[in-house]
């Protein structure tokens, strides 16, 4: 928490939370004049800071029988209008799950909850699934509950080694993985007319107006830098600036059609896009996989390996029920059932032998796919996001925002 305090004091400006600001602005509201406002700001009062995460207790230590879960689209197995995994969980635990597919990209979802979280107010969700970097950032601000690992025996027993004690969340203090995935390139052979192998293909004028990039700053910037031969862990702000220039040029030349969140799958499937940055599971899996013409490639320069993890937002109403769900999906049978449908990378290696034994040939293919159960060769091509400091993140965001805003 010291970092946060330093930050709050930086520049000699005593920081106000948004609630303070509203309250103080309200003092001036009666006079509605600039001078009254400024005077109101000078009034000293106790600054509200987030509680250090360690001293915080869960809202309740009892099961409530309810769970509200925020996730990305097509990120859980489905059958006949429902989800077998959710139905089994509801049946075995007696917990009523409200499962919402509300996350299209990390930043815009985070924007919907950051304000209440910064005011220590509860948000509606008991579990959220966000990408590793955002999870780390939220944990650093004290926005996530600390997990009680005595409630997560299946996680301890069945999670793969790389999912235990990950760099983004040491000791799994605030999270357990939901799924991992690969950021690469999806392409439609009918429209590209040739095989796509390189990140440079995203900048080919031959595909003008048919190329999609991501609104996720890390995915787009890192992939562009990989194309320039710079590994994520080595890249500097100078490199980020060069990547920005390259993206701006791509836009000026009319090569990029648009920047997408998870909503790129529609335009890709209906032929608006010939190729685009993509997340592996969407293409390997049933979102686009049934539309067999779409392919997924880990570019020769490399791809990105990310983990989306489950966390419990601060002051969530049903934390014990959330733990139950987190643990439930770590049973190998459940993990296998999910992996067969989602086709991202499951954090439970024991799911693979179960899938291999399946009577369904599609499921056996999934078990053999290096995009779902990564092989050492595949892993040697994959890189994690760089761990950005707050300053770096802000600089990179500013660079990337000028790209998004056109």
């Amino acid at each position: 928490m010291t970092d946060l305090n330093d930050l709050m004091m930086s520049g000699g400006v005593r920081r106000l939370s948004r609630r303070d600001l509203l309250r103080r602005a309200g003092v001036g509201a009666s006079a509605l004049s600039a001078s009254a406002l400024l005077a109101a700001c000078g009034v000293s009062g106790e600054t509200e800071q987030n509680q250090p995460a360690g001293e915080d207790k869960l809202t309740t230590n009892k099961k409530t029988g309810e769970l509200i879960f925020a996730n990305w689209p097509a990120y859980i197995d489905k059958a006949g209008g429902g989800s077998p995994t959710l139905e089994q969980f509801e049946k075995s635990s007696g917990i009523d799950v409200s499962y919402k597919e509300v996350i299209n990209d990390n930043n815009s979802f985070y924007a919907t909850i950051r304000e209440p979280l910064s005011n220590e107010e509860p948000v509606q969700w008991d579990i959220i699934v966000v990408t590793d970097w955002l999870l780390a950032k939220m944990a650093s601000f004290g926005y996530l509950e600390e997990l009680d690992h005595s409630l997560l025996p299946n996680f301890d027993r069945h999670a793969g080694d790389i999912y235990k004690d990950p760099t983004y969340d040491p000791g799994n203090k605030h999270s357990v993985a939901w799924q991992s995935g690969i950021t690469g390139i999806a392409w439609n052979p009918e429209l590209t007319g040739r095989e796509i192998t390189s990140i440079e293909d995203l900048f080919d004028p031959a595909f003008a107006g048919k190329v999609g990039m991501f609104t996720e700053m890390r995915d787009t910037m890192h992939l562009v830098m990989l194309g320039m031969g710079i590994k994520p862990q080595d890249c500097t702000t100078e490199d980020a600036r060069a990547a920005q220039q390259k993206l701006l040029k791509q836009q000026e030349d009319g090569i990029v059609r648009k920047y997408y969140g998870n909503d790129y799958v529609g335009p890709l499937a209906q032929g608006d896009l010939a190729l685009c940055i993509s997340w592996s599971g969407d293409v390997v899996g049933r979102t686009l996989g049934e539309n067999s013409k779409i392919r997924f490639t880990v570019p020769e320069e490399g791809g990105l390996l990310f983990t989306d993890a489950m966390g419990i937002p601060q002051n969530a109403a049903n934390p014990i029920d959330a733990h139950a769900m987190m643990d439930f999906v770590y049973q190998p049978k459940v993990a296998a059932q999910m992996a067969a449908w989602i086709n991202y990378i499951t954090p439970v290696p024991e799911a693979r032998p179960i899938l291999k034994k399946s009577s369904d040939s599609y499921t056996r293919q999934i078990a053999a796919s290096p995009l779902v159960f990564t092989t050492p060769e595949m892993e040697s091509q994959l890189y994690s996001y760089k761990n950005l400091s707050l300053d770096e993140e802000q600089e990179w965001n500013e660079l990337f925002n000028t790209v998004l805003e056109g």
Binding site: R14, L21, T47, N107, G209, D272, N401, E405, G406
Partner: protein, 285 residues
Amino acid sequence: MSSAERRGAAPYLLSLPGVSWLILFFAVPLYFMLSFTFYEGTIETGFGYSAEWVQTYTDALSGYRTQIIRSFIYGIIVTSATLLMAYPMTYWIATKGGQRKNLFLLLLLLPFFTPFLIRTISWTFVLADEGIFLGTLKDTGLLSQDFRLLATPTAVIFGLIYNFLPFMALPLYVSLEKLDPALREAAQDLYSDRRETFMRVTLPLSLPGVFAGSLLTFIPVVGDFINAEYLGSPQTSMIGNVVQRLLLVNGDYPTGGALSFLLIVGILIGIFLYARLLGTEELTG
């Protein structure tokens, strides 16, 4: 209280619901938005008063000049196009509609029984590169294979025209409908030809409708972000898209607030100039 006093208070009491609604949901949020522009910071780290708040405004103005200019250009194009389309249509309904006037008005409004967002998103299917419309034209060879509408300014402007046409049409209809036909007959009795009747009688008398329709179209169009979001590309992003991103994604309240206020000022200046041009100042008080 005497009855005279009661009568004196009546207008104020009658306007109370509306005025308090405006104060609570318009003036107060606007005031908060304004106060943010004097601060710097983020939601997580908190906000602090910024001595450089003037710079927030100048930076917003210079940093987003392209989008501001683009929004006003789109606004002018869309307002002119809807005016040119709506005027003959509503003139015809008002003068020749007869018994079926209400039916025609209903037809005009029918698409608006569907929400704005759904109408716009459904256009992304209709206009898809390989969709029912462009795909067919491409297959028949009428269009080249790389022709597209989505993610171009044309699609955004078409979407805006479609979505805002009734905002122009309804005020125009009202002002044309209440025109006494005897005035046109009188003009003809005085040897005006049709063109002169229109230019000297109908058009001047319908100017209040033109003005109201233009305002109702221009103001929301300049601030719109849905059409540019779904039908456009980064190269068509309007000021609304920037404000949406700043406020709802990046949490940059100071810059977002400053841009919103610059937009309000810009629109007010635009309306003032337009009122001068049409000679309808009395309408704006």
